[in-house]
Amino acid sequence: MSTLQLENVRKSFGKAEVIHGVDLEVDDGEFVVFVGPSGCGKSTMLRMIAGLETVSSGQLKIDGRVVNEMTPGKRGIAMVFQSYSLYPNMTVRQNMEFGLQQAKTPKPEIKRLVDEAATILKLHPVIDKRPGQLSGGQSQRVAIGRAIVRDPGIFLFDEPLSNLDAELRVHMRVELKSLHQRLGRTMIYVTHDQVEAMTMADRIVVFNDGVIEQVGTPLELYNAPANLFVAGFIGSPKINLLNATRKSGDTLQVPGGKLTFPQLDRLSEAGELVVGIRPEHVVVADAGDADISGKVTLAEQLGGETFLYVEIDGLENAMIARAPGQIRVQSGETVGLRLPSDRRYLFDPKSGRCLNRLTFD
């Protein structure tokens, strides 16, 4: 049962500031995911919340209380590290008991809580083994078990699944999500995998270079990215971006063709703009219907869908189109592409800001 508030939080290592004033509110029971490219400060942010790094300026509040100076053990949090960091000299059971012993929990209670967690996480078969004898997935479970026995108000996860293979990752993703539903605790989860972010989060916080670019539900970020960075970060494959030059009236010149934007003047007065459209919204069309055309350099047939990599005006891989089903195209062939007007984003290249709002049903 915990809320978290960050108010203008900053962090410097020596002279270098790496977190430049972050404001964020996390509600009780929320599953919040921090995403962003490597080095943008996600781990630093999480470690400040945990109390493993000091806050250089600003306020960090848990349940409304400023905790800047509080030691980690008193904050009512638990953290799962990327490397699991299970205590190597202790068995699985001792690993899980450790936190409870520090809290001076009575022995019978410790046993009950550990057994309960072991049951939830199916750890009984390995409960007397040492971390060195566990598989990656088991180690991961123990790390989670060590967190849940303490029943913290806030769970912190720093890329907990990145050391697992793809299949196990998907599996643990589902397990973690159902654990969240079962425990109803606030969870903050760091990842740079946007699929993990989209599938697990109640809300996603997109970090870039020590600032928050946007906060929102997965679909909010997908439907209405605030800027080029968020648009590029959310969605896979990445959104297609075309440099556009304003022609007369509502018409934009883009590589390989022309696009009309209704009421373009009201959106922007700039001469240079950027048009964005997601691969799944590009439609392969006949020459008469198409907005632009280009040469297919590669067609990836996945059975259920086809990805076309299209070269436009000599720009290699200028656009990726995802077409449903199986399309018979050879590389080298010319295709027409329609960019539906209700699926095109318009960005200001200078500020990166998104200028229009699309509606999805």
Partner: protein, 290 residues
């Protein structure tokens, strides 16, 4: 032809033949040189040890006889050899335990905790390495006299307890280890002491083993401090003690002195054998680091 896999029920001769074939004969020259080197290293010890087993008169006679009479001479002689032996052991053991504790605690602080001027303090400590021990001998003498510890084993133990080299060694080891175990424990609500005692210390086995060998050996062999601080036989340690054996037995009874020397080397061998298992294991273990 390389070594082949033998069935489980192979006879001894089959096994020997297989092992013999597995020797790389191209290395014969290297092996010979190494064996000669090893024999040269061992020769003084073998001479010391075997001479110590002979009666004094036979000190230089060949072939040697293997009568362990000198150890008894030593035990019952005018100089209290066994108490000195015990003193040496006490001093070395207490110093070793003390240094291991203080240096690993200091290393924990220097590598895991953030406190003002920690680097400055560490460099000051390292400066201590540059001061020759002989230089502090006289100040130390006055301190011990003031404390009334002259002529007790504590005058040998206390100066050795703070050891900058040991702190340096342990800190470098801890810095090379991931901090996440300690951080995990910190988040788990453990106190610094609990983290040190239950998380950090158990991981320091290998450097502690190495450190123990160094400290124990240095302390065991220490000659300067007992020479200056100790006067009575009751508090005397072996290095100075053996010197006084020399005074009372002389070269005529070389075998008695060499018996003492043989005995004096023994604990070092034991310490080394016990600790080296640790070191070898840890070196072998680093390859499969997770």
């Amino acid at each position: 032809m390389g070594p082949q896999i033998l069935p489980a029920n192979a006879t001894l001769t089959q096994r020997l033949a297989s092992a013999f074939r597995a020797i790389h004969w191209r290395n014969t020259v290297t092996m010979t040189i190494l064996i000669i080197g090893a024999l040269l290293m061992l020769a003084p010890f073998m001479w010391t040890f075997s001479t110590s087993l002979r009666p004094p008169a036979e000190g230089f006679r060949l072939p040697p006889s293997f009568l362990p009479t000198e150890f008894e001479t030593l035990r019952d002689g005018p100089i209290p050899f066994l108490p000195m032996y015990w003193n040496s052991f006490l001093v070395a053991a207490i110093t070793t335990i003390g240094v291991v504790l203080t240096s690993s605690m200091a290393a924990f602080a220097f590598s895991r905790l953030r406190f003002p001027a920690s680097n400055l303090l560490f460099y000051l400590l390292l400066l201590g390495l540059m001061v020759p021990p002989a230089l502090v001998l006289i100040p130390l003498f006055f301190v011990m006299a003031q404390l009334g510890l002259m002529d007790t084993i504590w005058s040998l133990v206390l100066p050795g307890l703070a050891n900058p080299l040991a702190v340096f060694m342990m800190r470098e080891f801890m810095k090379s280890q991931p901090r996440e175990y300690e951080e995990s424990a910190f988040v788990d609500g453990a106190s610094y002491w609990t983290i040190f005692w239950r998380i950090s210390l158990p991981q320091m086995g290998p450097p502690i083993a190495a450190l123990s060998i160094i400290v124990f050996t240095t302390s065991w062999n220490n000659f300067l401090l007992p020479l200056v601080f100790i006067r009575s036989f009751e508090s005397m340690t072996l290095p100075v003690g053996i010197l006084s054996l020399f005074g009372s037995y002389g070269p005529q009874q070389l075998s008695v002195i060499l018996a003492a020397v043989s005995l004096a080397v023994l604990p070092l061998l034991v310490v080394f054998l016990v600790a080296q298992r640790f070191i070898v294991e840890s070196i072998a273990g680093t390859g499969v680091k997770k």
